[in-house]
Each structure stands twice: as C-alpha cells, then as structure tokens.
Assembly symmetry: C2
Homo-oligomer: 323 residues x 2
C-alpha cells in the first residue's frame, strides 16, 4: 500500500480522546496528523504513547501540525476538543482550503452538530462520534486508557444524502474496527441521548460531590440519585421522540461498576480550571426536553449547582491574576 492510497485522518484536539483514537488509527497503518496547540515540542521529540491494561502499551512517532491548513487533504477530521471551544474549532475548519471534508465530533453533549452546522460550510459533512471509553491524557502525548473504547458513528448533515451519509459512516466504522476499536453506525441523535444517560449523572455529580465512579456507585443514596438522573434523561429522550433500549440503564450501571475509581472528564476539567461543558451536557438537553413538553427536575438542580461551582471557580481564577 502506498502512502497516497491510505485514508488520511486529521485530529483536532490531542487530549485523551483524540490521542487514543488517533494513535489507534495510526497503529493500524493509517496516515494520521495531529493538530496540536500545547506540548508540540514533547510530541515531536517523544511521539505519543498509550498505556492500557487491555490493549497493551503502544508508542509511535507522530505527525504534529501547528496550523490547520496542514490537515488539508485529510479524508476525515476527528474533533475531540471540549465543546466549550467549538466556536474556535469552527473558525479553524473554515480555514481549510478544501471545505468538502468529513468532520466527526467526538464530543459529549447534545446539539453539538446543530451548533457546528451553523458555523461551517454546507459542503462539509458532519458526523457524531459517540465514544464509550475511560481515557485521560496524563501529560503531552501520554495517554492512559482505563477501559472501554467503543465508538458509534452517526451521520448528521452535509452534502451527502442520509443514505450516502450512513454509507460514509460505515466506511469510518470499518477503519475503526480494523484499528481494534469496536465501532458501529448509529442514529446520531439517538446515540447522543444514549451517551447523555451516562454523562448527565456521572460528570456533574463527580464535580459537585468531588467523587469518582467507584465511590458514587458504592453509596446506596448516590446510586439511587444516579438512577433517578438516568431515568430523567431516558424519559426526556422519549419525550423528544427517541426511545432508548430498556436494557441501557442496567447495562451502563453494570459497566460503570467495573470502572476502577474513574473520574469523569468534567471532574478533570474542574480540577484543571477549565470551563465546564454545561451547555452541551446540561442546558441543551434540558432545553430540548422542555421544548418537547417534558422536564428533568433533578438534572435541572444538578445544572444549578454546577453553575454555582463554575462561577465560583471563575471568580477564584480571576482573583489569582495580578491586577
């Protein structure tokens, strides 16, 4: 296989998610380019390494890009930045010389593609990538994979028809499968609701209670609250027309019980002083549920608490700056 025949993948955002999937695809023989903001030097020098109990250790030198234009010619662009930076990501995507590219948002939350759709060229195809994984970047180029890895791909919008979009999603799913990443094609909207069932309770509660998954699952009251929050999301999804499988909640509770002291991504954002993804994970689905005539009182309360914590955190950071 010559270099030109290989599908070329661009990755925007080289945290745990982007690092993991990009490195796995490169490991399977694809041409992967990482657009990197911080830690370029370390990445160029030391490459990227993955530490994983289930997959073993993987290490490669990687192609590091500092300008989005260097991603021109990529067949797929995986976006794994936080949703809080999506306006900036849209500005980057608009700078691509060839706008007819396939962009996959590997992000948590609701309404991300709709938001991005309004900001990028019509020829650009948007896909949702729903990742069921526990992964974290411990240092530039250092990825710690704690478990999971499956990724569901759904076509959202673009120049392709729904059928063409599904066919394209299947092509990407095959690339992932060949890279030892379980992947299937899904309805993007359905899959986003599905992921919210996990993200809504665990992300928010990990911040409010300063707790990891094990300690939350081990406490009967917290487990009951997690179940209540999940049920509210399942009910809201149904109100919006997306009936999730009945076995979803028990399956998620079971797989979470097997996670080893995992801190959800929002906890890392909080301790790292980053803006929390409240819009994508809480406000947008709450708005969708209310528009459809439903409500999620406990989810709403979790958002109210997170908004308080976020505001206090911002205040603390602003006080740290010299006047």
């Amino acid at each position: 296989m010559t270099n030109t025949s290989k599908p070329r993948i661009g990755v925007i955002g080289t945290g745990g998610i982007g690092g993991f999937y990009g490195l796995m695809l490169q490991n399977s023989g694809l041409d992967v380019r990482f657009l990197v903001r911080s830690g370029q030097e370390e990445l160029r020098r030391d490459g990227m390494s993955l530490r994983s109990e289930s997959l073993g250790d993987i290490q490669h030198q990687v192609q590091v890009c500092s300008q989005v234009e260097e991603l021109d010619g990529c067949d797929w662009i995986l976006v794994s930045t936080k949703t809080t930076g999506n306006a900036e990501v849209a500005r980057l995507l608009n700078r691509l010389p060839n706008p007819a590219v396939k962009v996959v948002l590997l992000q948590n939350g609701y309404g991300n593609e709709e938001q991005m759709r309004a900001l990028v060229p019509a020829q650009m195809s948007l896909f949702a990538g729903l990742c069921f994984i526990q992964v974290r970047r411990t240092a530039p180029g250092q990825i710690w994979h704690q478990g999971g890895g499956a990724i569901n791909i759904g076509y959202h919008s673009g120049a392709a028809s729904a059928e063409q979009g599904a066919a394209l999603a299947a092509e990407l799913a095959e690339l992932f499968a060949a890279a030892k990443v379980p992947s299937e094609v899904t309805d993007a909207e359905l899959a986003r609701w599905q992921k919210l069932v996990w993200n809504v309770p665990y992300n928010g509660l990990s911040v409010v209670l300063d707790a990891n998954t094990s300690s939350m699952m081990d406490n009967p009251s917290c487990l009951a609250l997690i179940t209540d929050l999940m049920q509210e999301v399942v009910d809201a999804a149904a109100t919006c027309g997306y009936v999730l499988p009945e076995k979803l909640m028990p399956a998620m509770l079971k797989s979470t019980r097997q996670m080893d002291n995992y801190y959800p991504s929002m906890h890392g954002d909080y301790t790292g002083g980053k803006t929390l993804e409240l819009q994508a994970i809480y406000r947008a689905p709450l708005q969708a549920a209310r528009t459809a005539g439903g409500d999620m009182p406990k989810v709403a309360m979790l958002l109210q608490q997170l908004e308080f914590i976020q505001a206090r955190s911002e205040l603390a950071i602003s006080h740290e700056k010299p006047c």
Copy 2:
C-alpha cells in the same frame, strides 16, 4: 424579688442556641442552670460571654451543672442539643425527679416533638421553640451572635389542654420578651414547616456546595435553586394541611441577603465531624409529604447528596481511628 420567686430555667446543650437564650434570660434576672458536658472547667472559671453587634457584649458567671438531677425544680427546660442526640436527651429527661416539667425543644427539623413524646413521661409538657437567629459557639462559653434572635413558642403535648398549653407558651414568650428576645406564641407544626423553608435549602446546600449564605445568594443559579427548594417545602406543607403565608419566602430571602457570610449550622456540624441532622431536616418532612401524597424531588436529591457526603465523612473518621 427573692431567689425562690424567680422562674428557674434549665438549659440542656450549651452551644450557640442554648448559650444565647440561656444567657439572655439570666441577663434579664432569671435563675438559669446550664447542664454542660464539655468545657465545664472553662465555664465555671470564666463564665459565659456573648459578642453581638446588635445587642452589645454581655458577660456573666453562670451556674454549671454536670448532672441532670441538678435541673430539678426548674420551671422550664430548654433543649438545644442537635436532634441527632434526642434519644440521649430523653434518657436525661427521664432521670428528672419531678417529671411534670415544661420542656422546650429549640431545634431545627420536623417531627422532633413526636419523637420525644414517645420517649418521655406523659406528665411532661413539650413545646416547640423555633429560633430565627444566626449564632455560633466559638469556644466553651463564648457565643458569637451574628443577627436575628426571634423565637416562636408552640405547645405540642403533655398534661395541659391545648388552651392551657397556649397560656403556658404565652408565659414563656413574656419571659423571653422581657429578656429582649422577640417572641410569640405559634402553632408548633405550622412554625416547624415555616422554619424548614429556611433550613432545607440553606443547611444542605451549604454542605454540598461548601458555601455560606452570601455566596449562595449572590449567584443567580444558586438563588434559583434555593427558591425552588423553598417552594417545594411550601407546597409540601400545604399538602400536609399547613398553608404558609405568601410573604414568607420573599421575607426569608430578603433577611438572608442581609446575613453576613453566615454558615448555617449543618455546615458547622459537617466541618466539625458531627452527624448531620438529616432525619429531622430532610427525611421526616419528605416522609410526611409523601404520606400526604406530595413529593419534593429537589429536596429528595439534596438528601441523597447529603447522605453520600455523610457516609464519606463517617468513613474518613473511622479510618482515622487506630485499629
């Protein structure tokens, strides 16, 4: 006035509440006896002192008792311990030589008198004392009064009829009024719901969010949550047959806004490693509301979070102990 003609007051629990009201009554000329567990030596040596911007500084030598039998002959016994210790308080009250005494529970929460009723002699009269005050014990015998002070007295049960009970409550209210403590007679049950409107949001959120009243009131999301929680309590009270005045919520929000960085008592219990009053402030009213056919989803969620925090705190304390 000779010593024998003065009403004699016993105080069980000399924290902020018991210290404040006991000292104010003594300051007005009454014979007050404090049953004290810890800090007896300091109290006997230095007396008790009150620091207050609105009332000035007050200092007196006090009568310190180490056995409940020394409270025999008291006309009134004020109980200001945490509700979590009420079984122990009942054991003390049962040791009084004359059981026909009037006992006032100066405690937060719901169902306290019912619980105590089942544990003490029938001749003992029980009263609810609802304190609207910001006060704290900073050291043995050192009381810091931050604001408020009003106390509402309601007869609950005992040898007296409802009319006789109300007359007795009025006598105590007069003693308080003469001691510069605004006081009025009230329906005990109604007043307990009324106090819950304040205690439910501020106590629990101060622990979950590790925040004082000012920071909570200053944040729009937290203020909205406080209002939601208050409304749930008001609605639950109505479901249980107690219609609270419409102006109650705005009045409470206004007076709380005037408190200066006040940490509610549950926050002090939490940081002090004490058991939180979850039964009296959350479980009992939730149970009452559900029995009456109502629900308080956000209050229930706050309880779930507090139960998680309480359990973690107990675990941490048990780990501190040597094996």
